[in-house]
């Protein structure tokens, strides 16, 4: 028994002003629901894992705005709940590039318990206004994945998150206050909170090291070897990450789900983009053991094992 993927959808933003983080997530969530043939009202839980937004809104959770936009149980019926309708619970979960896998783990537990019946995880990022050289690999993108519980002996069955805090300063980001200099216009503030992203040399190399180490430890815990993995689905959160990792693990290229180049560097959307590529190619449906992997700041590595019976097919997104 496990959590099954109903549908997955990832989209690249065009970088325009209207392609905000919220709209990217809205569009992906709507497309995902359409693919799965579900109504917004069917969604019991919505977790947003996006990190970078144009306005860096602190509250409410962006998930609440997305829930409102897609029309998922916006309000209680006048006579209260029950009577055939239930609400939606939304919040934001932040774990950088690993957020999608962590959120799947959270929803998986609630699906298993029967507390929810259909969960969605949405993601989106827009490159922060850095005002200078920053993180060149961050590409605007949004994604959504729909999950439900199934009694068949398959689905997401095991999760693992490992952190390597010795590398915590290789990738850092946050808002810092900068006073405005020079003459100030009548509507201008005294300064602004500027996003500062620091990526130190060696980050990518350490990311590959940590991802390899975490994968080997996870597989050891499960009693599996690399050869037991039919399909490796690595999130392309950072470009030039997948091939070095594949080589280090010794996984043949034909057992790796490569994400289209335009979705490379899609940060929190990376795992959904990778899953979408695996579904579109038909290979996720054929693989018995699929390993989903994401790595990001911390250094944090998240892994999930998706087991599947050969005859079961995930929604074909190419239709």
């Amino acid at each position: 028994m496990g959590t099954h993927i109903e549908a997955a959808c990832a989209r690249v933003g065009n970088g325009g002003r209207k392609a905000t983080a919220r709209r990217l997530a809205d569009d992906a969530a709507r497309a995902c629901l359409t693919l799965a043939g579900c109504r917004p009202a069917d969604v019991d839980m919505l977790i947003n894992v996006g990190v970078y937004r144009e306005d860096s809104m602190g509250e409410p959770a962006l998930a609440a705005l997305i829930q409102e936009d897609i029309g998922a149980n916006r309000g209680q019926p006048p006579d209260g709940g029950g009577r055939g309708r239930s609400g939606t619970f939304s919040f934001d979960l932040l774990n950088g590039a690993c957020g999608v896998i962590t959120a799947i783990q959270v929803e998986s537990g609630l699906l298993r318990a029967g507390a929810i019946r259909l969960g969605t995880v949405v993601s989106s990022d827009v490159p922060p206004d850095l005002g200078g050289p920053g993180a060149p690999f961050l590409r605007p993108a949004g994604g959504a994945i729909l999950l439900r519980w199934d009694d068949s002996p398959a689905g997401f069955t095991d999760f693992c998150t490992l952190t390597f805090p010795e590398y915590e300063d290789l990738f850092t980001s946050g808002l810092e206050w900068r006073e405005r200099r020079g003459i100030r216009g009548p509507r201008q503030g005294t300064g602004h909170n500027r996003m500062v992203v620091m990526v130190k040399p060696g980050y990518l190399a350490r990311l590959v090291d940590c991802a390899e180490e975490a994968t080997r430890r996870f597989l050891r815990r499960l009693g599996l070897g690399v050869e037991d993995i039919d399909l490796l689905v690595p999130a392309p959160s950072v470009p030039d990450f997948v091939d070095p990792l594949r080589a280090r693990l010794g996984v043949p290229g034909d057992r790796v789900a490569y994400t289209p180049e335009d979705l490379e560097g899609s940060h929190t959307t990376g795992p959904i983009a990778a899953l979408q590529a695996a579904i579109k190619s038909g290979r996720l449906g054929e693989a018995r053991n699929t390993l989903l992997l994401a790595a990001g700041a911390g250094i944090t590595v998240a892994l999930a094992l998706y087991r599947q019976e050969p005859e079961r097919r995930v929604t074909d997104l190419s239709r």
Binding site: E6, G37, C38, D42, D44, M45, V51, D55, S56, M57, G58, E59, P60, A61, A63, A64, L65, Q67, E68, R74, G75, Q76, P77, G80, G81, G82, G84, S86, G87, T88, F89, S90, F91, D92, L93, L94, N95, G96, T102, V106, R112, A113, R117, L118, R148, T161, T163, E168, T172, G174, L175, W177, Q188, G189, H192, N193, M195, G298, T300, T315
Partner: protein, 369 residues
């Protein structure tokens, strides 16, 4: 794909209860708090507004003072202090924590007024020595800590983990200072920012025998009201600014919460009058009393006690429920066998309700400890 088959739900809330057949219970084992030493009275704050406002904030809200950070203090130090205090009241060690969830809205650390990556939880688990814990941050406005409890309740009661911690450090007094620069009248959307105070809180949850521990916990997001309270990085000073349609928010929260409280107590198989202590989110004394009166009118019963501690702490955002619970435990107001209801209300609108009975938790606090 076929349409998702949904059984006829009996409740609007996303609910978990001890009687749902899970193999284990989940109980609150310890609570910790970290308050900055420095205090700021409402009188002092209002004397520093840029414009003469004539707002009688203390009379309106019941807030006399609040704790505010001093040099070197921020969200991270408050959260770390609360987590350590929580462990000092616990039989567990940091190494027992299998999952650590940080739920601060403000995530200030070092030079950053808001830290994004790595998540604050990563630094926290290193600071307290919970190095083996799975960690992540969660953001759900003032309902963040109870949302973390909701997640841990699920993982603990189904045997995925046996011990977890939810922690939050809120350095939010900068919103008050930014509002004080701009606020002109009682009708300002930044008025609620003047009620905020700084605090850290932590709660440790552990596995309990089946059917014991937290009786019911439920949440919902009424997203049609998602824009009633919004906070953004500030352009007038370090930190953030918050804009609230306070009157609408209060009206909507009162109207919508009553049927959800009814759902929760029905699920727990009790009556509102069986609640010994109701601890609501602390916004203003007047709003809490109005909300309680509305429940009484709608549900025909009144909890025995309603906790209001806003006079000395103000609104400490995601930490209010556990700051209040901690104080009641320390003062031995809440005792063993008392039934407690935690009621989270937050922008979103998020409504979260938990009901549990105090057990050995009471033994670790107060003079007897």
């Amino acid at each position: 794909m076929s349409e998702v088959q949904k059984a006829q739900p009996e409740h609007w809330l996303t609910l978990q209860s001890a009687g749902s057949g899970s193999p284990w219970g989940c109980r609150i084992e310890s609570v910790g708090v970290k308050l900055p030493a420095q205090r700021l009275t409402t009188k002092d704050l209002m004397s520093k507004t840029s414009h003469r406002t004539r707002i009688q904030l203390e009379r309106l809200t019941g807030i006399h003072e609040r704790h505010v950070v001093g040099p070197g203090e921020n969200s991270f130090t408050l959260a770390t202090g609360a987590a350590r205090d929580c462990l000092s009241h616990s039989r567990h060690q940091a190494s027992d924590i299998e999952m650590l969830i940080s739920t601060s809205i403000s995530r200030s650390k070092g030079r950053s007024s808001q830290s994004f990556e790595p998540p604050l939880s990563l630094y926290l688990k290193q600071a307290i020595g919970a190095t083996q814990a799975t960690s992540f941050d969660l953001s759900n406005a003032c309902a963040g800590m109870l949302t973390g409890v909701f997640i841990l309740q699920n993982l603990i009661s189904h045997g995925e983990i046996s011990c977890g911690m939810v922690v939050s450090g809120e350095y939010i007094s900068h919103l008050s200072w930014n509002a004080a620069r701009q606020i002109r009248s009682l009708f300002s959307k930044q008025l609620a920012s003047l009620t905020l105070g700084d605090a850290g809180a932590a709660v440790l949850l552990e596995r309990a025998p089946r059917g014991s521990g937290i009786d019911v916990i439920g949440f919902t997001t009424l997203a049609e009201h998602s824009r009633l309270c919004l906070a953004f990085p500030s352009s007038v000073g370090p930190g953030a600014q918050m804009y609230t349609k306070a009157r609408t928010l209060q009206r909507v929260a009162i109207e919508d919460t009553a049927p959800l409280v009814a759902e929760t107590i029905r699920e727990a198989g009790i009556d509102l009058a069986d609640i010994d202590y109701m601890i609501p989110h602390q916004t203003s004394a007047r709003a809490i009393r109005a909300g309680t009166d509305a429940f009484v009118q709608r549900l025909g019963a009144r909890p025995k006690h309603v906790v209001i501690n806003i006079e000395e702490y103000g609104n400490t955002s995601s930490t209010t429920l556990f700051v209040a619970l901690y104080k009641c435990l320390q003062e031995q107001k809440i005792r063993k066998h008392d039934r407690v209801m935690l009621l989270a209300l937050a922008s979103g609108i998020e409504i979260g309700i938990a009901i549990f009975t105090i057990d050995n938790l009471a033994d670790s606090y107060g003079h007897a400890h």
